[in-house]
Symmetry: C2
Subunit: 451 residues, 2 copies
Amino acid sequence: MKPSIPKGTRDFLPLEMARRNYIFNTIKDVFSRYGFSQIETPAMENLTTLMGKYGEEGDKLLFKILNSGDWAGGLTDEEMLAKNSVKLTNRVSEKGLRYDLTVPFARFVVQHRDQIQFPFRRFQIQPVWRADRPQKGRYREFYQCDVDIIGTDSLLCELELIQIVQDVYAALGINVCLKLNNRKILAGIAEIIDEPDRLIDITVAIDKLDKIGLENVEKELLEKGLTQDKIDALKPVLLLEGSNEQKLNSLRTILAESEIGLKGVEEVAAILNYCRQTAVELNIELDLTLARGLNYYTGAIFEVKALDVEIGSITGGGRYDNLTGIFGLKDVSGVGISFGADRIYDVLTQLDAYPQSLQATTQILFIPMGEQEQLFALQCVKQTREKGIAAEIYPELGKMKKPMNYADQKHIPWVAIIGENELQNQSGMLKNMTTGEQKMVSVGEIVEYCK
Amino acid sequence: MKPSIPKGTRDFLPLEMARRNYIFNTIKDVFSRYGFSQIETPAMENLTTLMGKYGEEGDKLLFKILNSGDWAGGLTDEEMLAKNSVKLTNRVSEKGLRYDLTVPFARFVVQHRDQIQFPFRRFQIQPVWRADRPQKGRYREFYQCDVDIIGTDSLLCELELIQIVQDVYAALGINVCLKLNNRKILAGIAEIIDEPDRLIDITVAIDKLDKIGLENVEKELLEKGLTQDKIDALKPVLLLEGSNEQKLNSLRTILAESEIGLKGVEEVAAILNYCRQTAVELNIELDLTLARGLNYYTGAIFEVKALDVEIGSITGGGRYDNLTGIFGLKDVSGVGISFGADRIYDVLTQLDAYPQSLQATTQILFIPMGEQEQLFALQCVKQTREKGIAAEIYPELGKMKKPMNYADQKHIPWVAIIGENELQNQSGMLKNMTTGEQKMVSVGEIVEYCK
């Protein structure tokens, strides 16, 4: 029996874990400085919570948990013989695995509304599961890392998320640009071409502009039933050029007749103004083709791209005015972004930008040569750990080759060999594993070297 | 629609999360100082990996994932009409949720044996899922926190785990005692009463001595087919009294004829000797009734109890000589323990022993009174965060009551109100939320106060 794991899932070995922890800890540090609190929700949610929230395709991609016990016993012969997987699923499964952190968060806010303080600033870092076809860079289990402020429509929240993006990527050493749009501007555009009900078709299509090009987007809009003259009217808006300021000015003219469109323009202008006031250095670009294919955004839409690596969006989000409405709590506005930990991992790997120190989980390995030496080494390792230094004692006596190999492969920077001579001097032969230099020093000095 | 979560699962709100993180971080810090590396495995494992590893009862308690797509389409009419849930499960489910961290770890070691260095020192902190009937203190999703050294039979590893127990509970401020036993001693006892094949029956029964009492254990052993004279022969061993040293001496006599029994005695003696040599202060008690009902232990068995709170075991583990054998890698000895995070949480709650600082995720809230003040407050909050202090700006303008309430309920220790007067002086009215004292100070001074 050759052990394996389900396709699309991963084991994380020590170095991968250290790198992932580095990413998560960097992000958490920034979140904490901005006063966000962490929450967690269960891996399993009731299917009534999850179904219908991610579209028909999403319903299929949910991992469903088989009911416990005699789940088949209560089914009728008719149901069984029909072999209708969709219908039977409703009868044999009540729970599913979390598909994202957004819907569980909405459920959480409604369920605990009396225990939390609004505006509620939360972050959440947990795995999600999707029964997608696995492919390069796409997994069936992956972490999401969401930060949201819910319960206020203040645009200061948009500013804070932009500042967080800036701080996180500065700390990680990744050059990024942030693309900014506003759903209200898109709504305004749909309005001025007199197709307000087509907003979703239009945004879904233009979201693909980057990927499939203008020609294919036009084709798609034609297929959706938009006339050629409407599409022509759209084009200048989509291909708007110039600085953010120039784009906003053009939009003020184009959208002069659309109240919602102008509101979107002024929201973007206010956010950019806050950024100037607080000296945000991030490269921010107003990009009207940005729609993120998600229907629940109602205001700002964000997307972050790495500048030095060819990869998709590494962070994204936006403002939503009715996330909790599906669970019965209306008119709660919020805004949030999600950091794509797996993609950030790939970016840092490609840039080779991880701190060197992540390689070594242990600073020093003590290698005693005999039983008396072992007892002394136990004192040494204890004292070293008490100083907060990660230390090990090689647990077996014998040839030097094994422990030296072990230290080498684990990238342990220092070893201290303790033989008869060192024992007599109550010291260790400290070896620098990088340079090969060695010298006999006391325990106290060993600690100093390892610091 | 009233939102809810599956029974036996939990949401963690900010304060609970902060407390859980405090426990996990304390444990992780100790693990790291001892040179352990973190790994993670997927939530879902193939059912071939999980089934048959936890006994018949365990198989039932595994959460199984329904296959994706048309899972019912390929089943025969006969299968469907039989409605045999156990057989059908094999046909409609290939994956299950992790039931513990031990079996996935064994699978991991075998699968990645060429990528890891032995002795492999790993820790793993992840949730596990069991379809147990939920009750007080028992959940269907809970975290395990395991630390193991695999690939050596050196008793120094047992010492290190004992040191880790001491360090973790000292850091958390929980008084504990550690109970120690050795499976080889139990085997020796079964041998001298001439029932070597009954070892498992005997250990499972005596494991219950604490819970059901001597009389009921005797009854159970009789039911299992042990004769009364054998049970009588067992009794003096089980009810052994005195210091660890006295118990070991008695056992040396009792087990004189059992090679394996004596080996167990000498292992315990060696571990206790290492503890003395390294000045372990932990209260360690040799307890022959300790068996932990787990069949895979082959040497040391550990269990840790909190002294000041009535609760079961909060940490436990032992040595196993063939954990990876089920996945085809024989003769790899390891030893490990598992910290029960949920129970530790309950102990700290009952002792009221959490650091006060966990209450506040934000150190200071800036409250601007108008738009100009807001722009100045944005500078202040930025500078405060740059000093590593968790800071917020209240995002909405208006009455003082809302932000003051917010600060109060979030246990934010400081607020800085910025009105016209403060703006003119480029300062803030800093208020200590505990004492109510307030005074006008500059941003630089605010940072100093909050530190």
